[in-house]
Every structure is written in structure tokens, then in C-alpha cells.
Symmetry: C2
Subunit: 346 residues, 2 copies
Amino acid sequence: MAKAKRKKKKPLALVALGGNVLIQLGQRGTIGEQELNALEIVQRLVTMVKLNYNLVITHGNGPQVGNMLIRTEAARKTVPVQPLDICVAWTQGSMGYLLQNALLNEFWKQEMHDKRVLTMITEVLVDRKDPAFKKPTKPVGPFVTKARANELMKTGIKMVEVAGRGWRRVVPSPKPQRVIQRRTIRELALSGKIIIAAGGGGISVYTKPNGEWEGIDAVIDKDLASAWLAKEIGADVFIILTDVGQVYLNYDKPSAYGVERMTTHEAKKYIREGHFAPGSMLPKIQATINYLSGGGKRVIITRAGLLEAALEGRAGTHIVPRKEDKKWPTGTIRISSRLKSSKRKK
Amino acid sequence: MAKAKRKKKKPLALVALGGNVLIQLGQRGTIGEQELNALEIVQRLVTMVKLNYNLVITHGNGPQVGNMLIRTEAARKTVPVQPLDICVAWTQGSMGYLLQNALLNEFWKQEMHDKRVLTMITEVLVDRKDPAFKKPTKPVGPFVTKARANELMKTGIKMVEVAGRGWRRVVPSPKPQRVIQRRTIRELALSGKIIIAAGGGGISVYTKPNGEWEGIDAVIDKDLASAWLAKEIGADVFIILTDVGQVYLNYDKPSAYGVERMTTHEAKKYIREGHFAPGSMLPKIQATINYLSGGGKRVIITRAGLLEAALEGRAGTHIVPRKEDKKWPTGTIRISSRLKSSKRKK
């Protein structure tokens, strides 16, 4: 196809929603809360569709998977406990449903009747030899008593004590290697369907010695999985929505400031300098670097409320591959602690 | 398109798997059990793909949704109980995952590398004025004590006492009106993708006065929902897999006999004569009649192990619309209590 023609194609965006998208901090996670939260986020997403983006949506599932582990733990004497691949699959079902239904309602209200939305149950391949399996570090689920922790540890489950709160399970969080459903996701997204996929970082499967895929008791970081997916489907922009409007250096210190633009090179430097918290901004920056190093074009990190402004270059942190440096007229970083000070145009 | 050309198209089959497909009677539902069961059923389904069918797969979720209700009940003091639409969405996620992964493995083993499998989270529209909402009758979930039943009844939940076993929740099981995702399911199935959809009868939603869809605390019979979907996607054959090889008249009596063929007219007569048990064969026959009256072509009811034989006309009960009667040479029903007595060819 001629290049001129390709340029007219709709850009493909992958938007990774935060883990708290449907159960916000401090909420218990009633259905009413989740439906309201879904309504709020989908208004932002529909705006993107109106701006002519093809859209793949991924999402975290921290609170949901935590609640699921509390439920399975509470009922463990009656019904079998299920591994984490199943727990993630559960949350893909319920969160996908709430998001897709809210999207369908919003499209209907805005008379965008031709839009289709599709939640795809998504598996992500991991390596059985990933060091994460030898050293599980990701805390999940409920706090339990020492007695119960001892019981669990006898079955091979790793638990850590959190001072003053009890014992908590830690699980392996291996690196994603491939999104099994990547081709279908790409094909359907390019056909204009809105795809909800890879919820909770995807259902972790590994390749058995006989070549089959089998579920494995692990969780995958959703930003890393989303980055892989963004790369694999050739997304034109990878957007990570989180609680903050920008990436901050010296976060939570008096000297904190937000970053408007940076390159992967700078991002790596900031990682080395310890600017980003593990389990919070760090995986997002790592995901960003992975995506951009693998041929990705542009990453935006911002909060949902600023999505439209960020797409217009007026908000958020924009990260590009190193080679893009020269396109920026003055220096490589522009820093603003206040959005309105930004002078960048579209 | 010319009729001659259309005839060459792959036939589209909708196969409804039984509620016990992944957790069989007497099993507790460990992940190991479910994976083994998935392996068994997908071998039958892959055979259908080899026989050149396009395939939509639906499934029941009785044991899974029951286990989910036990879990949510056990943890109710810690995490919010969720309505049945969410419970069904959970099971669509986990069962879809197990089935799709097993299918992918089987395709891989059989070197059918081009086959794609897709689990779609599926919503089904019901009518808020369906009489089922006034008179919930479908028993779901765990048995509870009288004290707990009283508590639940105060919150508006309907409970019934089952002699000797305690109290159990009964929920509305309204009739399906439309499968929201029907167009996408049809489009993707016709493109050769294997689609897993409408698990557990679909996630029940209704239309609010303002026109939006919202989840509702109900379950939909999976055979009825599957019949709707089969009709809506124009399936060439609707296959209901269950525990018995054929539909029986005088079931469980010494005079029981299996039905090889019947028409919708005969099926209605047998319903009137009380041959089919509510909650068991009756909804399957009703689903059959719905599908065939709505333009459907052919229904097969059999058990998974006989699927291939049934497709070749050597097993199962075959049901066709009344107008097909004349195509059968002698009478309208052929009865055989033993499959090998069948003389029918392909």
C-alpha cells in the first residue's frame, strides 16, 4: 500500500487504565461504585474514538484480584482455591463487562451506533525459568494470621510478614514474553472495533516441555504486558493512565517537578537516579522504555481527566525514542510544574 | 451471491456445552479437574472444525456460578457481595480461558496453526417486566442456615427451604431477548475464528427507562440464550451437548426410549405429555423449538462423546421444523433404544 494512503489511516492507540479504574482508593468495590467509575472513564475513551483513534484498552485489576483472593480464601474449606491465572480470568470477565457495557451506553448516547466493543479473554506467555518464580515478590490478596500463613507456607505458598498488619502472600510476577491473542487483537482493532484486552496484565501461561500452554500461578505487571501488546500490535501511541497528571522527578519531595517530555535515554537515567518508585511509576517507565525500544513511537503518561489535553500536547508526560531528540528545538526536556505554563502546540 | 456459491460456504454451527462441561457431577472443581475436562471436550470440538464447520461455542456455568456464590457469601463481611451479572461475567472469563487455551493446544498439536480462538464477554438483554422477576424460581448457590436465610430475605433476596438441606436462594431466570454482541459474534465466526460466547446464558442486562443498558441480578437459561444466539447468527445447526446420548420419552421409566428424529410439532406434543423434566431436558426442547420456529434448520441433542456420530446422523436426537416432515420416508419419528440399530446414513 502506498505510504500516502497509509498515513490517512486512523492511528491505533493502546490505552492502559490504572488498577484503580473501577475500584478507587478508599472504595470497597460495590457494584454501584464500579458502574459509576466505569461511566467516568468511558467518557474519556469515547472522546478518543471521536478524535478518530482505533482503540485497544487494557486495565489493571489490583483491587479486584485482591477481593477474589479474599473470597477464595474465605471459602477454601468448601470450594477449591483457584490459581492466579483463574483469578485474573475472573477479573477480565467482570471488568471487561463493566467497561464494555459503559462504552456501549456512551456510544449509544452519543449516537455512535456503528461502534462495536469487544472484551477478549487474553493470555500472556511467560518463561517458566523467569527469576521471578524463584523469588516471588509481588504482594497480593488479604492479610492472614500467622497460623494460616504457616499452613499456606507448608503447601509451598510464599508469605511475608508486614509489620503490624499480618502475613501476606507474595507471588511471582514474571516478565511478559508474548500476548497470545495479539494477532486477533490487532486485526479487530484495525477494523475499528474497540477492544478490551489483557486485563490485569493477562492470564499467565507458560510452555510445558511437551509444547502445550498451561496456566501458571503468577501475575503479570499490567504496564509491562500492555507495553508488549502495544509493540506487538504496532500501536501508534501507548497511553498509560494513572493517578498523576505527569511523571514527577523527586516525587513527593519539596523539589518535585513534572516532566513534559523526555526520551528513553533520559528515562533510563532517571531510573538509575532512583526517581521512580517500584510497583508504582517504575514499571510504567520500564514499560515505556520497552515499547519505545521495540519500535514504539510515542508514550503518554497522564491521568484520565487530562487525556484529551494530553493528546493535544497540553498535558501529561510525553516520552519518545532517543532518535526523536533532534526534533525538539530547545534541549530535550521541558519542565513545567503547572500545565498552563506549557507553550507547546498540537 | 449465487446460491450455488453460497452452498460451498462452511456451515456455521453453534454448540452449547452442558453446565457440567468443566466440573462434572461429583467433582469439586479443582483446576486440575477443569483442565482435564477441557482437554476432553475440545477434542470433540476440534473434530468439528476439521469437518469444516465454523464454530460458535456456548456453555453452562452451574457449578462455577454456585462456587462463586459460596465464595462471595463466605467473604461477605469483608468484600462486597456482587450481583449475578458480575458472577456470570467471572465465569465467562475463567471458563472461556480454560476452553480457549485447551482449544489452542489441540489446534497446535494437530498442526492447525492458522486457527484463532476468541472468548467474547457476552451480554444478553432481558425484559425488566419479565414475569420471572416477580416470581424467582431458579435455585442457585449454596445452602445456608435458616438464620442466614432470614437475614438475606430482609434484604429482598428470595430464599426457599429445601427439605433436609437448608435454605437456598432462588433467582429470576428471565427469557433472553437479544444477544447484545450477536453481530460481532456472527461476523467473526463466519471469518473462521472459533468463538466462545454467551457463557452461562450471558450476562443479563435490561434497558433502563433512560435507554441505557444496566446489569440485573438474574441468570438466563443457557439453552434458551444459546437458541437465541443460534437464530440471530443464522447458525446452520444448533447442537446441544448434555449428559445423555438422546432425548428420551418416558425418561427414567422402564418404558423409556430414545428419539432419533422429531419435528417441532412432535416436540410440543411431548412437552404437553410431560416427557421432559423442568430445569433439565425441558429448557433444551423449548430452546430447540424457539430456534427452529425462528427459522433455524436443524438441532441435534446428544452427549459430547457422540458428537461426530451425531453429525453423521448415526447418533443423537435430530429435530427439524415441521415442514421437514415430508422428507422423511416412513413416519416422522424413528425410535431406537440402541444406536447400532440405526440404519440412517449420512
